[in-house]
């Protein structure tokens, strides 16, 4: 393996960050320009949204169930198992719903985008597209960004709901908590800022998933091996960025909604 000087390494990384931001910014600018690719956006929405539904439902269900199991175990020591619904609800809506849905969709779609666009890059299809007078950021990136943002928003809502159902099933069947008690605590504990916090995050996560996937795809080089590398890097980068941006967003939203 070829050794690279620390200066070159840093330069490469800084350049990569600059290229990423330029691509991300152009994908936003394209929203206000022509042409707009509605067909491609709908197709991506179907691939990302409907395609990710099974894993999002399963993840949400089992997370809700395990949350109920874990929290009830702790609450039992204080004789407050009735609060299980409240804890499951707050944890799912504020944090675990958006983050786990984001991570799942990142694993599935960032990799898919990176490999699809990477294959197009190494077989000169991206250059062919540019040579044919089409802006790849308009045709390929922006539709994926829009679809990811919109679909992740709705997938998160579904995940939250399924998570609550998972928690409810476990609470009633295994822990013998009253159904009405579970749902009334789950419902009453949620405040407007909790819901806002849980629904702003997927908008950012959706943007991260698509822009990172497209960036690694469009910068892939080195044949099929390069496409494989881009795919792996896209998933890793998207997952880390989701977790990092979650921290920043949570802090920011806590400042915006003091007391929550």
């Amino acid at each position: 393996m070829e050794l690279i000087s620390p200066t070159d390494f840093v330069k490469e990384r800084v350049l990569a960050v600059q290229d990423y931001w330029q691509l991300a910014w152009r994908s936003i600018q394209n929203l206000f320009g022509h042409p707009r690719y509605f067909g491609d956006t709908l197709q991506q929405a179907d691939l990302i949204g409907v395609g990710s539904l099974p894993i999002v439902v399963l993840t949400g269900f089992f997370t809700g169930a395990v949350l109920a199991l874990q929290t009830s175990n702790t609450l039992q020591r204080f004789g407050s198992t009735s609060l299980t619904g409240q804890l499951v609800s707050l944890s799912m809506v504020r944090e675990l719903g958006p983050v786990l849905t984001g991570l799942m969709v990142a694993g599935r779609n960032s990799s898919g985008m990176a490999s699809e666009l990477g294959s197009m890059k190494v077989t000169e299809q991206i250059d062919a597209m540019r040579a044919l007078g089409t802006d790849p950021t308009k045709k390929l990136v922006t539709p994926r960004v829009i679809a990811s943002v919109v679909m992740l928003f709705f997938l998160t809502i579904i995940s939250d709901l399924v998570g609550l159902v998972g928690g409810w099933m476990l609470s009633t069947l295994l822990l013998h908590i009253d159904s009405n008690q579970y749902w009334s605590y789950a419902w009453q504990s949620l405040r407007f800022p909790d819901v806002v916090m849980g629904l702003i995050k997927p908008v950012f996560f959706g943007f991260v998933i698509a822009s990172i996937g497209c960036y690694y795809g469009l910068t892939a080089k080195g044949g099929t091996q390069g496409v494989g590398r881009a795919t792996t890097q896209a998933v890793v980068a998207a997952s880390v960025l989701i977790l990092a941006s979650d921290l920043v967003l949570t802090r920011f939203l806590m400042i915006l909604f003091p007391g929550y």
């Binding site: 299809q125 250059d127 540019r130």
Partner: protein
Amino acid sequence: MPRNSLPDEIALPQSPETRHKAIIFDDLSISFENSNKVLDGISFELLRGETKIIMGAAGTGKSTILKLVPGLIKPDSGRIFTLGHEVTSMKEEDLFELRRQIGMVFQESALFDSLTVRENVAYRLMEEHDLPAEEIERRVVEALRFVELEHTLDMSPSELSGGMRRRVAIARAIVSQPEILLYDSPTGGLDPVTSTTIIELILKQRDQYHTSSLMVTHRLPDAFLMATNYYDVETKSMRPIADTAKRDVNTSFMILREGKIIFNGDAHALTTAAANDPYIREYIS
């Protein structure tokens, strides 16, 4: 088929003295990461209606020249004028308009593998958004008839042979009747019979539509076929130019060596140069 032109409302820089030439390279240099200069101060012109065949050993920058013409890559220094527009100073967004007047055939065809042959050929026309579906279909069929592949309309690129893919790529490049055609090793990796078929199509385009073209090749037989044959509309085939005929096929040659142009001229000048330059003599022998 009407030729495209840049809409008036798009104010692109255009120089009056360069408008009558299809392509001008002015003292152009480019190098890639961890390599010496791929092109080192090269200058040449392609006149309107002219076909220039670019030859040279592997890695001498032939394909790089083609990618520079529509601004797919940017040079380190020098200027390029394509159809009178200085592409080296244009923004990427403006280049998309200019590129619609250029057809490019890539080395490995670069067909969109998720689209059918029909959709590949129709791609540029569909991107224009203002053409009715019947008109697009008519022009797609016409372009595919030109390359004798009408029957492949609903096939996907993976179902085609290498030669057929190359012919579909030619159909995709000519469907909008571009002002300039760029062929990147159109016969590379093909058997001699298929190669001749491809060259015949390029000749047909040259002699019927007089499109300005740059063709990269490292196959000398292709270059000689281009220089010594013409497309006969009556017999619909390629025919050798008789010694007595004063037919000008408007084809010239350019040879690159280590990033520099060592020859640029017509077939007659090439024969003379070969007599004086041992490298050219060895290259074309």
